[in-house]
């Protein structure tokens, strides 16, 4: 399904309800009546074109209009990335954490399962550090670059900063936070002792798969959209500083 402006929002959800987690990030609320995507986005002050690209990329793994996505502003892209971070921290991670706690509680006899909690705790710490670095260093830098490029601001200090840290460094250091998730999934699928509450395990596995997919989409935006876009702006700034000098 390719979602368009005039597609009914309700139909989109019926087609694939996991899209609701995207709407949550855009702060779009349920109760669509028969409104179209365009109408619902308008109602919630969401950029329809941007929403459509994100939703279509989510629905079709082969559809990733990176060039087109780069036409949106850095601040719009970062706003979405930040909201996604917030969604991970307030929904995804706590949900998995809570289920792992329950798994341990229900299987006191299987003391080895404690290691799964420890493993996830380690993962969570790594994960939070990753998001924090983006929130506090990378995104603010990207926003500064955009604003300098657009407003023709005094940007000598930024050019100076670029020699120490720029978008290329971010892309090089940007690590894959899916690796541990992959391991955890496999441990649950292949190696966990036969505990009685299988439904709980299935829930956890389900959440892990969904987080993994989401993170994949998320990193793709960071690496293929945000990164190149900011690098383009950096180039403009550098060129300008060379002509002024």
């Amino acid at each position: 399904m390719h979602v368009a402006r005039d597609t009914k929002m309700g139909d989109v959800v019926h087609h694939n309800h996991t899209i609701l987690t995207i709407m949550l990030r855009f702060n779009i609320k349920l109760g669509f009546s028969d409104r179209t995507v365009d109408e619902v986005c308008d109602q919630h002050n969401v950029n329809t074109a941007f929403f459509l690209e994100i939703v279509n990329a989510f629905l079709d793994p082969h559809y990733f209009p990176s060039k087109h996505l780069r036409t949106f502003s850095v601040s719009l892209i970062i706003d979405y990335l930040l909201k996604t971070h917030y969604y991970y921290l307030t929904h995804k991670i706590p949900a998995i954490e809570c289920m792992i706690e329950q798994l341990i509680k229900e299987n006191q006899g299987e003391s080895d399962l404690r290691l799964i909690r420890k493993f996830f705790k380690e993962y969570k710490d790594e994960f939070i550090n990753h998001l924090k670095r983006e929130d506090e260093v990378v995104f603010p830098y990207a926003l500064k670059v955009e604003s300098a490029a657009h407003n023709n601001e005094q940007h000598a200090y930024l050019v100076e900063q670029m020699t120490k840290y720029s978008m290329i460094d971010y892309l090089n250091e940007h690590d894959n936070i899916e690796e541990k998730l992959f391991d955890l999934k496999n441990i649950l699928i292949k190696y966990i002792p036969p505990i009685s509450n299988q439904a709980l395990c299935i829930h956890i596995i389900d959440e892990l798969f969904s987080l993994e997919k989401d993170l994949h989409d998320h990193s793709r935006i960071e690496e293929k959209v945000l990164g190149p876009k900011v690098m383009e702006l950096e180039k403009q700034l550098l060129a300008r500083s060379e002509t002024t000098n």
Binding site: D112, L115, K118, E122, K180, N186, I187
Partner: protein, 196 residues
Amino acid sequence: MEKVAYAIAESVPIIRWALSRIVEEQPNSTVDKEVDSAHRLIEHFQKHSTEVTIVRLNEYMALALEAQQQIKSHTKLIIAITDNDEQRNHSPFFETVSLLDGVMNIQKAIRKATCEMSKHKESKPEGNALSDREIEILKDITLGLSAKEIAAKNYISPHTVITHRKNITKKLGIKTTSGLTIYAVLNKHIRIEEVE
């Protein structure tokens, strides 16, 4: 899961036939070899092994100690059959059942033996099982040793250690050290106390 294999040594054809049928009727159990005497059993065990052996008690006891030893080393469990009620619970036997007891007891003994053998089977990972060497390396990795340290400890090159690690990851589908640790503990290669 693979079935547990039985060898039956029994000289009376009708009893041998009955024992064989009873084994086949039990879940996860199959007859691998039928012979008509304890002596033939020893011949068979010169080249083969079986997980469970059913043998007449008096025939077994009549064998020389050496021959008994040979049977014991080629089978994991022995079920002894007696034709009276007296001789019970001889130590080398997993179960002793009397022909006078009726079918139920024999069935029960076989199921118990199969169950016991299956436990050992399940604890071994199938298919992509790690080699003994890989298990040793896995333990060292989970204890936090570096590739260099592992190499020195096992008299191999660091390069070989890295190859082993790659193979372990490929076989298990686990990439991170903490993930490998959980695997090693769940599979009893190391104890949780060693890594906590």
